[in-house]
């Protein structure tokens, strides 16, 4: 993770300097969002499925401790070692300890946003462990020394030319080569060598099942399985909210996950791990790192239902036009902006303002998290708690970043009415710099653009 100290508005301004690039970024993500729409429309029961998923997750929140205890017991019966970590530092120490005890100094890793959250790679590297990210997108950003910009599409901010140059430098591909097929093949061969020579593999967890003690890891590339089935030790890391009660509930979640993420009916691989293979060790690390605090925040606990599909990012007009790195948090976009203040209110006070509150995120979320309501509520909590350093400044910057982009008006024009509908949130919020001076116009009487232009002049 970068040590970015600039806030979202500033980072967005930089991102927006290259207009054609931003348009490309915007359209690429919108394309993914459209694939999600087409795919979800194939299921007449889509809306009911979302409701069911949200209901199961609500049950999970309210039975979290019991489910985790059941899971631990079953996993142990299956011959899996279970570790608990209260925070990122404990998590990282556990991983390091497991590797050191076995004299392992090289590890392959498949996608795990939790390890990004814990800044594990940095920590392990400092301690002499080489970590190779094996998801293609993650490997790309790792070679560039930057964090993923999206939880599902880690290198979505890069053009193929960037990747061609990068691979030329690091993997020896031909100079100027940009063909995705060719570049992917180069990465396949480079990483196949790593899979075949590393004794340890770390994976994330998409779902952990209390009933069986097993866990599911979903990938399209097959990298989690290549790593885990060849390694002597498999370490799986999960935030405790990944737990679900029963295996049959996977039917609900696996039908929603990939369709919401990329529009596929399912990822290529949905791997169900329960027992280590003969001669192998399997470890699970259950991590809190602020989750139990979030669980106690009535207004924000629903954020723990998230299944990390990325749909809220793909649909978000601010994310699409500001890029994942502008959120300076492992999880970007609307959901990241709800999770981040829980971890550090001061450092992440800007994020809940990186939204128009248009509600599109809540509309696509497969587990029906009330994302935009939570963003609004965080603004109030942060302001009350004195975490918003210059309250006016933040309001202005958050607004002006998105509103000063001409393309953004055009986009907003399409959503005009809904943006106007949520405007009162901003208007009645004392963070709005215009609030005290004047009454806001009634939505239907003038266009959003006219309103903004007029207000900016005054």
């Amino acid at each position: 993770m970068s040590t970015a100290t600039i806030d979202h508005a500033e980072a967005s301004e930089i991102f927006n300097k290259d207009e054609p690039y931003v348009n490309w970024h915007d359209e690429t993500l919108w394309f993914v969002r459209q694939k999600r729409d087409r795919s979800s429309k194939q299921l007449p029961e889509w809306e009911e499925l979302r409701e069911t998923a949200s209901g199961i997750k609500h049950y999970v929140l309210s039975h979290m401790d019991e489910l985790l205890i059941n899971f631990e017991q079953k996993a142990k019966e299956n011959g899996v070692h279970v570790h608990w970590a209260a925070n990122a530092a404990e998590h990282n120490e556990i991983v390091l300890g497991l590797l050191k005890e076995r004299h392992i100094d090289k590890m392959v890793k498949s996608k795990s946003m939790l390890t990004e959250e814990c800044h594990m790679n940095e920590f392990l590297t400092k301690n002499g462990i080489e970590v190779i990210d094996t998801d293609l997108g993650e490997r790309i950003v790792q070679l560039r020394n930057e964090p993923p910009s999206h939880i599902v599409l880690p290198a979505i901010h890069l053009k193929k030319k960037d990747i061609g140059d990068l691979f030329h430098e690091h993997l020896g591909t031909e100079a100027g080569a940009t063909d995705p097929q060719y570049l992917t093949e180069a990465a396949r061969q480079h990483l196949r060598d790593k899979f075949l020579t590393r004794r340890a593999a770390l994976t994330g967890v998409n779902f952990a099942i209390a009933e069986t003690g097993g866990f599911v890891v979903a990938t399209n590339e097959g990298n989690a399985d290549m790593g885990a089935h060849l390694a002597d030790i498999h370490i799986a890391c999960m935030g405790f909210e990944k737990i679900i009660p029963k295996q049959e509930h996977l039917g609900v979640f696996l039908r929603l996950l990939a369709r919401s993420a990329t529009g596929q009916p399912i990822t290529t691989y949905s791997s169900h791990f329960k027992k280590p293979r003969e001669g192998q060790e399997m470890h699970i690390i259950i991590v809190d790192n602020g989750r139990s605090t979030q669980l106690g925040r009535e207004d924000f606990r629903n954020s723990l239902k998230c299944i990390r599909c990325g749909a809220c990012m793909n649909t978000c007009p601010v994310y699409r036009r500001s890029g994942g790195h502008s959120y300076h948090n492992a999880v970007a976009g609307p959901i990241g902006s709800i999770l981040a203040p829980n971890l550090d209110m001061t450092k992440n006070a800007d994020l809940p303002f990186a939204s128009t509150l248009c509600g599109s995120c809540s509309n696509v979320c497969p587990v029906k998290i009330d994302i935009h309501d939570q963003l609004y509520k965080w603004r109030q909590v942060l302001a009350k708690g004195g975490h918003v350093p210059q309250s006016k400044g933040l309001g202005v910057k958050a607004m002006s970043m998105v509103l000063s982009q001409p393309r953004f008006y055009q986009w907003s024009g399409r959503l005009g009415r809904s943006v106007m509908r949520v405007m009162p949130f901003m208007v009645n919020n004392n963070l709005n710099p215009w609030y005290k001076q004047r009454d806001m116009p009634e939505p239907p009487k003038e266009s959003f653009r006219d309103w903004y232009v007029r207000n900016r002049k005054e």
Partner: protein, 197 residues
């Protein structure tokens, strides 16, 4: 207090009031023809489906499709003569050079083209991933409509199992779909009619 106990304690204090599981946890899918839907779904993910009558026809078809390919492996006794690579190795790393593996799967799912395979059918978990190309053989009458049906069928699993839908892929470079990321570069599915053990 251990990390475990303090985490569990805090969760207990902070969790919301108990809510019940939703009343409906599964939905039916209605396809005019489940097999046609299965084929259609797989065609969209670059996977061809062949129907074979019995194991003799399977062997014949395998010979035809993978003619001139060396390093062929299989876990299916009827294909023993077709294979030239023994899976009887202790270390999965030795599977590195396999070009094509034909593996038995348990059943398929029409809505997403996934096939369930598990420890029950494999001597090495790495096989379906490390092989350059993969083929599944599943009973023709084993197709489920959707994932709810799949999990109903999946009452008991071994230590590891996986739904695999098509060849491995990635779109991490400018969203351009590339087939053959880290797992198999191609996939074929045989639906076999005869009783198959």
């Amino acid at each position: 207090m251990s990390a475990r106990d303090s985490i569990l304690q805090k969760i207990k204090e902070n969790k919301p009031a108990a809510s019940a599981l939703p009343a409906t946890l599964r939905y039916e899918s209605f396809f005019e023809n489940t097999e046609a839907k299965f084929r259609e779904t797989l065609a969209a993910i670059y996977t061809e489906v062949f129907v074979v009558k019995d194991q003799a026809e399977l062997a014949q078809k395998a010979e035809e499709l993978f003619v001139n390919v060396t390093n062929r492996a299989t876990s299916i006794p009827a294909l023993a003569n077709w294979a030239d690579f023994s899976l009887n190795v202790a270390d999965p790393h030795e599977l590195e050079t396999i070009e094509i593996a034909i593996v038995q799967g348990e059943f398929g799912v029409a809505e997403n083209g996934a096939v369930w395979v598990s420890d029950h059918y494999l001597s090495h978990r790495a096989l379906p991933f490390i092989t350059q190309n993969l083929a599944f053989v599943i009973p023709r009458n084993s197709l489920m409509n959707n994932m709810h049906d799949a999990y109903e069928r999946l009452k008991d699993t071994t230590g590891w199992g996986c739904f695999i839908a098509g060849p491995s892929k990635t779109a991490d470079i400018e969203q351009s779909l590339v087939i053959g990321a880290h797992g198999a570069r191609s996939m074929v599915i045989f639906l076999i009619e005869e009783e198959f053990v």
